[in-house]
């Protein structure tokens, strides 16, 4: 690489500087040695409940390495729009894109994210870092997120829903944490004392990814699914099969018999609010809300909430839907900034950074953190169930038009929860519309006969 004066090779000052840095590396802690001194970079990120923990971890990175990071923080939808604008320009504004599982396919398929090996062929994903149903990889030839593809990103927040339940009420009633949907239903009904307390509070409102995200653990936990086999490129719509009907009937039944009277209008914030104010015995929401339940400024149920792996039907395993965040490096930024972004990711995946992240209130992406003694501490009681559930997490969508399908599910499921359609009408209607979307985009698709 040419030096500043245009000559190849290193100048005397560079050699002396490098020698000094190497000598300093021998006497400084590991952390300083892991991340190299690199150019300033910008991360575009959303304002989620876990953002504060990420910000603190970034500050730690800056302190330890001296590298500069600028955070561009936005609401959920705003972050996607800013990312689209940046990656579609000739020259990008953001170096590291914090991508949600819902739009990561759009970024991979669109060719907006640089494969990590093209920035540093020697980079290896830490074997302890969860690959989250292989969503960190992308096989451009097969147009699939599979382990055979190139490494495209590093997990930032492995969000999935967990079951939050009132441990104090369970103790009083002599109940044990539910493992199956049958147990959850029985326990929810037992603790259902409206209007003071609801057995379960569900997220039935229509939104960008609201009721559909709430429904995935039920759909997949009953052995259902939206498509036959996305990884194999088979997009036959299977939403309206028997498993789908059983799942939706169950979801509607517990809402009616043990749920909040206005489930169809409850979004995530209201569901969490019901738990924090003691009005819900169970909720199944994203794990990032964990820090709120023990926050004296926010919660009336401090130390009363326990966490469990999302239940499943007998004969199936738990199947929480991924709502995770991945860090991908934009293709259209200068090389030095790509290396800056990669340096941060390299540092972020270390066990020490992950533990600091957890202590700051974040959700670690490394299994090593879940094996650490920290996971035994009372305030991190969610770590064990999360560690147990993560290997079963399901990537619901592997194609860039996912938001169109989500939009169909949001409306159809919301109408079913509101009681304006039956489960069969909703499933048949949604399946037909999803088939239409996939056909229009020339996917290998098909549909099942309508449910009677």
């Amino acid at each position: 690489m040419p030096g500043r004066n245009g000559r190849r090779g290193l100048t005397r000052r560079q050699v002396v500087g490098a020698g000094g840095a190497a000598a300093l590396g021998l006497v400084t802690p590991w952390r300083y040695a892991v991340a190299a001194k690199v150019a300033p970079m910008t991360i575009v990120i959303n304002q989620s409940p876990w953002f504060d923990s990420f910000r603190k971890t970034v500050e730690l990175y800056e302190k330890e390495t001296g590298n500069q990071v600028e955070l561009d923080v936005n609401p959920f939808a705003g972050s996607l729009e800013k990312q689209r604008n940046s990656v579609r320009a000739a020259k990008g504004q953001y170096d590291l894109l914090i991508m949600n599982g819902g739009w990561v396919a759009e970024m991979y398929f669109g060719g907006f994210v640089e494969p990590i090996a093209e920035i540093d062929p020697a980079f290896k994903l830490d074997p302890d870092v969860y690959t989250l149903d292989n969503t960190v990889y992308f096989d451009a030839a097969k147009k699939a997120m599979s382990a055979g593809g190139k490494l495209m990103s590093v997990p930032i927040s492995p969000l999935i829903p967990l079951l939050y339940y009132r441990g104090d009420l369970y103790k009083e009633a002599g109940l044990k944490a539910p493992e199956t949907f049958a147990e959850l239903e029985a326990n929810a009904k037992k603790l259902h004392k409206p209007p003071g307390r609801y057995g379960i509070v569900q997220r039935g409102a229509r939104g960008p990814a609201s009721v559909s995200y709430d429904f995935y653990p039920y759909l997949y936990g009953f052995g259902g699914g939206i498509f036959k086999n996305q990884s194999a490129g088979d997009y036959t719509v299977t939403l309206n099969n028997e498993a789908g009907r059983t799942a939706l009937d169950y979801y509607l039944r517990i809402a009616k018999e043990a749920g909040h009277p206005q489930t169809a209008s409850l979004d995530q914030a209201e569901v969490i609010q019901n738990m924090l104010t003691g009005k819900a015995a169970h909720i199944m929401v994203v794990i990032s809300a964990w820090s709120q339940v023990d926050d004296p400024d926010k919660s009336a149920v401090i130390d009363k909430v326990e966490f469990a792996v999302p239940p499943h039907a007998q004969g199936f395993s738990t199947a929480p839907g991924l709502g995770h965040w991945l860090g991908g490096i934009a293709r259209n930024v200068p090389d030095d900034r790509k290396r800056s972004a990669l340096e941060f990711l390299r540092w972020f995946q270390t066990k020490e950074a992950q533990l600091a992240y957890a202590k700051n209130g974040g959700i670690p992406v490394s299994a090593a953190s879940y094996r650490d003694p920290i996971a035994q501490e009372r305030r991190f009681r969610w770590m064990k169930p999360l560690g147990d559930a993560l290997p079963h997490a399901v990537n619901i969508y592997q194609f860039p038009e996912a938001s169109e399908v989500i939009s169909i599910l949001e409306l159809g499921l919301n109408q079913a929860v509101a009681g304006s359609t039956t489960s069969v009408q909703a499933l048949n209607g949604m399946a037909e519309q999803i088939f239409g979307v996939m056909s229009k985009r020339n996917y290998n698709t098909g549909k099942l006969p309508a449910l009677p």
């Binding site: 579609r88 907006f112 939104g207 206005q262 209008s265 009005k279 169109e404 409306l411 919301n414 109408q415």
Partner: protein
């Protein structure tokens, strides 16, 4: 003869255009006129070009994009000709159809409510001799509140579990109502919030209109022995008609563009109960990134808005001609 007849004659006289004396133009007048017209066009042309660049070209671009399907691969966009498919699909779009119906309902009731409340408040304020400034300040407060804050205020007030409205109604024995979450009340709630937010706009325009009305017409009406209602019906309303129509047109266009209140309060739900056109467009264009289809939807919405405005102004023209 009706007692208000002479006042009505005054109104007609006030509204009548002064007739101009027309004389035959000479050749010199024609040449001077040509020069003036040329000079006028020359001086206007920079502004016209700017207007063309900022308004017409984006619209043309939108129109052109509406005939394509846009996709991305390898970091580059590709445009595939879609013919009229994007426009054909509009007819089968459940959300778009629901959006049209709800937008029309929203516009009719919200604008109607704002016009009525604004006019009544303006009339009351005009009749007040002391403290008019205070009343005026209080009445215009909601319009000063940013839309996002309006959303936060009413989301809290109308919350089913913790909202002040339900807590207040519970005190007098009513059951809690899911104002924003029930298909029966959600649209009405959003309309109510919009009326609360935008009535001051109508109020201000009406107040300005009322204060500029010539007082001699009212004096004539009084001399004729007109009652308060007759004064309102035969003097105030006819003279206020231009202001009312302009206010109506402004509000109608803004009501057709409603987005923030729906986005913040209901997200279009429950079901499609509060789905409005702008929100559907936001979903299709931005959230789902359907650039071509979203452009077609945009063109359709612009066309409908223009149609509506034309109808409103045609109605105004007819009313003016009838009088």
């Amino acid at each position: 003869m009706k007692p208000i007849a002479s006042a009505a004659a005054h109104v007609a006289a006030v509204e009548a255009e002064p007739s101009a004396t027309v004389s035959q133009p000479t050749a010199a007048d024609f040449a001077r006129g040509l020069d003036e017209r040329l000079w006028r066009w020359l001086t206007l042309s920079p502004a016209l070009l700017l207007l063309l660049a900022l308004s017409v070209l984006p619209l043309l671009n939108l129109f052109a994009t509406s005939f394509f399907t846009v996709s991305w691969s390898g970091g580059h966009s590709s445009f595939t000709a879609a013919g009229l498919n994007n426009y054909r699909e509009l007819a089968g779009d459940t959300l778009f159809r629901a959006g049209i119906l709800n937008t029309v309902l929203f516009a009719l009731f919200a604008v109607g409510g704002q016009m009525l409340c604004g006019f009544v408040l303006a009339l009351l304020c005009t009749g007040v001799a002391r403290g008019r400034l205070l009343y005026r300040t209080i009445f215009i407060l909601p319009i000063l509140v940013p839309g996002i804050v309006v959303g936060a205020i009413w989301k809290l007030l109308l919350n089913y579990d913790f909202g002040l409205v339900n807590q207040a109604t519970a005190l007098i024995g009513f059951d809690a109502v899911n104002w924003l979450g029930s298909a029966n009340t959600a649209l009405a709630s959003v309309i109510f919030v919009d009326i609360w937010h935008w009535t001051p706009f109508c109020f201000l325009l009406f107040l300005a209109g009322l204060q500029s009305l010539p007082q001699d017409v009212y004096e004539a009406a009084k001399i004729d022995g007109a009652s308060g209602w007759q004064e309102l019906a035969y003097v105030t309303l006819p003279m206020m008609l231009p202001t009312i129509m302009v206010t109506f047109a402004f509000r109608l266009v803004l009501a057709f563009k409603v987005f923030d209140e729906v986005y913040l309060l209901t997200g279009g739900g429950p079901g499609t109960a509060t789905q409005v056109m702008s929100f559907t467009l936001y979903q299709r264009f931005f959230r789902e990134d359907q650039t071509g289809y979203g452009s077609a939807m945009s063109v359709a919405i612009i066309f409908m808005t223009c149609l509506l405005l034309s109808a409103a102004f045609a109605a105004r023209g007819r009313m003016g001609a009838a009088r």
